[in-house]
Amino acid sequence: MSSTTHHDEHADDHGLAHVATVKTLTATGGTLLLLTLVTVLATKIDFGANINLAIAMVIAVTKATLVILFFMHLRYDRLFHTVVFVSAICAASLFVGFTLMDSSQYQHTNIWQPSAPPPAPVGPRPTG
C-alpha cells in the first residue's frame, strides 16, 4: 500500500492498468471542449443541410474517438476490449443499415391512401 504513493506514472506495466498522464487527460478534455465550440459555431455557417450534418457528425465521431482512446484507455487496454466494443458498433450499424433498406423499400405502402394506392409490383405475375 505504501509503495503505491511512489508509483511512477510512466511505468505503465507495473500497476494493474495503464495510468493516464495529467497531460493526456487535460489535452483530451481541452480538445473535446474546443470541438464542442467548433461544432456549435459550424451550424451558424450555411454549407447546405447535408454538409452541415456531415461536419457535425465528423466532429462527433472525432470527439467519441478521443473519449474512447484516452478517457476510456482503450488505446492502452487489451485488444480484446477493442474487439468487443467495435463489434457492438458494427452490430448497431447493421441494425441501422438493414432497417433503413427495409423501410425505404416499402415506404410507399407505409401510409395507405385509398386515393393513391401503391404501384403494382414489378415482375411476373405469380402462377399457381
Binding site: V22, L32, L53, A60, V84, F85, S87, I111
Partner: protein
C-alpha cells in the same frame, strides 16, 4: 472466508476476493465485464438511434422545423458540463491508481456536481416544454412557436392563453368560444378592433388544422375592399395589425369567410361578419373544410379593459371568469419575420419530441444512475477503500460515465444542432 484474504496479504487490499488468483485477475475480470456491459449499452441506445435516423431520413422537414424549439445554449452548456465531468472521472481513476486519496475525493465530488448540474439544466428544459405543451405524441400542443410567439392551441390549455375557444379534447371539436378575428372588421378609422363571436355550430370533423391559405386570400380581399372603399386611407391600413392566419397551424385557423354573401349578411357592427372558416384535418381529412358558425356582437375598442368584455359576454355561452377577449394582437417585427420564414409546422411534428424525450430521457436516467454510483464510490473513497491494487470500481464507473458522455456527444448535434 476471512482466512482466504490472508492468502493475498501481499496485495494489501481486503477487497480482493478469494476466488481470484490475485488483484490483477480480479481487476481484469471486472474490466472485461464492464466492457461487455458497455457493448450492450451501445446496442441498447442503437434502437433509439435507429428510430431517429429512420424518421429523419423519411421526414427530414420535421427535424429542421422542430429543433428550433430546443435551446442550443442549454445543449452546449450540458455538453461542456458532461465533457468536464468525464475529465474528472478519468482523473479520479488516475488518482485512485496512484493512491492520491484527497484528489480522488475531489475528482469524484466534482463529477457528481457536474452530473447534478447536467440534470438541473435538463430539468429547466423539460419544465419549459411541459409548461408550453411541447411534448410527445398527442400531448404535443405547443403554446409558443419556436420563435416564442404565443399561439392559440388545439386544446387551449396554455396558461394565459389568448384564445377563449373551448375545445372538446375527445372529439377535437370546438364547443363554444370566442375567436380572435381582429381582421374581420378591420377599419382604417379604428385599427385593431376585434369582434366578439360565440361559436354556435361546427360542421365537419375537426381535429388538426392544416392550412395557411386564409392569410394571403384574406389579405387580398381586405386590401381590395379597402382600396375600393377609401383609397386615401391606404397608408393607415398598412400599419394595421395583420391577422396571422397560419398561426392556427397548431390551432383553429380562424378566417372570416368574406366570399359568402349570406354569411356576411349576418354580421353586426361596422362591418359585415359572421362566418368563420376553419380548416382542419389530419392526413385523412386533408382538404375537407370545417365550417364554424358564430354569433358575433359589435366589435369593441382595442383599448377596452377585459372586465368590460367579461360582463358583456355574461349572458352568452362564455361564463364569467373564463378567459375573456383581449385587445387585438399586433405582430412585432420579429413575429412578422417568423410568420414569413417559418410557416406552419409540418405534419407529425410531435414525432420529433417523442424521439427527443425518449432519447434524452433514457440518457438522463443513465446520468441519474451515474450520480448514484459515484455517490457510492465517494463514500467508499472517504472510507479509504481504494488503493493501487484495488481501484476497479472507480475505473468501471468511469468507463460507464464515459459511455454516457459519448452518447450525449452524438445526441447534442443530432437534436440541437440541426441546420
Amino acid at each position: 472466508m476471512s482466512s482466504a484474504h490472508d492468502d493475498h496479504g501481499h496485495h494489501g487490499s481486503r477487497f480482493i476476493q478469494h476466488h481470484y488468483d490475485d488483484a490483477q485477475h480480479q481487476f481484469d475480470s471486472g474490466k472485461f465485464g464492464i466492457w461487455l456491459f458497455l457493448a450492450q449499452e451501445v446496442l441498447f441506445f442503437s434502437a433509439l438511434f435507429v428510430a431517429y435516423i429512420l424518421y429523419r431520413v423519411h421526414h427530414g422537414e420535421i427535424y429542421s422545423y422542430a429543433h428550433k424549439w430546443l435551446d442550443v445554449k442549454y445543449g452546449a452548456i450540458n455538453t461542456a458540463v458532461l465533457i468536464f465531468s468525464s475529465l474528472t472521472a478519468a482523473w479520479a481513476v488516475r488518482a485512485a491508481q496512484l493512491g492520491q486519496r484527497l484528489l480522488l475525493i475531489v475528482c469524484l465530488g466534482t463529477t457528481i456536481l457536474c452530473a447534478c448540474t447536467f440534470l438541473g439544466i435538463k430539468y429547466i428544459e423539460y419544465a419549459h416544454k411541459v409548461h408550453e405543451h411541447i411534448l410527445f405524441g398527442r400531448y404535443f400542443d405547443p403554446c409558443v412557436s419556436p420563435g416564442g410567439m404565443e399561439l392559440l392551441t388545439k386544446n387551449n390549455e396554455c396558461s394565459g392563453s389568448k384564445s377563449t375557444v373551448q375545445w372538446d379534447p375527445g372529439s377535437g371539436k370546438a364547443k363554444e368560444g370566442c375567436f380572435e378575428i381582429s381582421k374581420i372588421d378591420q377599419d382604417a378609422a379604428r385599427p385593431g378592433v376585434q369582434a366578439d363571436c360565440v361559436v354556435t355550430e361546427v360542421t365537419g370533423a375537426a381535429s388538426k388544422p392544416i392550412t395557411n391559405r386564409c392569410r394571403d386570400e384574406l389579405q387580398e380581399m381586405l386590401d381590395g375592399e379597402h382600396e375600393a372603399a377609401d383609397a386615401p386611407k391606404s397608408e393607415k391600413k398598412e400599419e394595421a395589425p395583420k391577422f396571422p392566419c397560419w398561426r392556427p397551424a397548431y390551432q383553429p385557423a380562424v378566417c372570416p369567410d368574406l366570399t359568402d354573401a349570406d354569411k356576411r349578411s349576418h354580421g353586426i357592427g361596422a362591418r359585415p361578419q359572421a362566418g368563420i372558416i376553419v380548416e382542419y384535418g389530419d392526413h385523412l381529412e386533408r382538404g375537407e373544410e370545417v365550417v364554424i358558425k358564430a354569433d358575433c356582437k359589435a366589435p369593441m375598442q382595442a383599448t377596452a379593459p377585459p372586465a368590460v368584455a367579461g360582463t358583456e359576454i355574461g349572458d352568452r355561452s362564455l361564463k364569467p371568469g373564463e378567459r375573456s377577449l383581449r385587445p387585438a394582437h399586433v405582430l412585432t417585427t420579429h413575429e412578422e419575420h417568423e410568420l414569413e420564414s417559418l410557416g406552419p409546422p409540418p405534419e407529425h411534428t410531435s414525432m420529433f419530441f417523442t424521439i427527443y424525450f425518449a432519447m434524452t430521457g433514457l440518457h438522463g436516467i443513465h446520468v441519474l444512475v451515474g450520480v448514484i454510483v459515484f455517490v457510492w464510490l465517494l463514500v467508499r473513497a472517504l472510507k479509504g477503500h481504494f488503493t493501487a491494487d484495488y481501484f476497479g470500481p472507480i475505473d468501471y464507473a468511469a468507463l460507464y460515465w464515459h459511455i454516457v458522455d459519448l452518447i450525449w456527444i452524438f445526441l447534442f448535434p443530432l437534436l440541437y444542432l440541426i441546420h
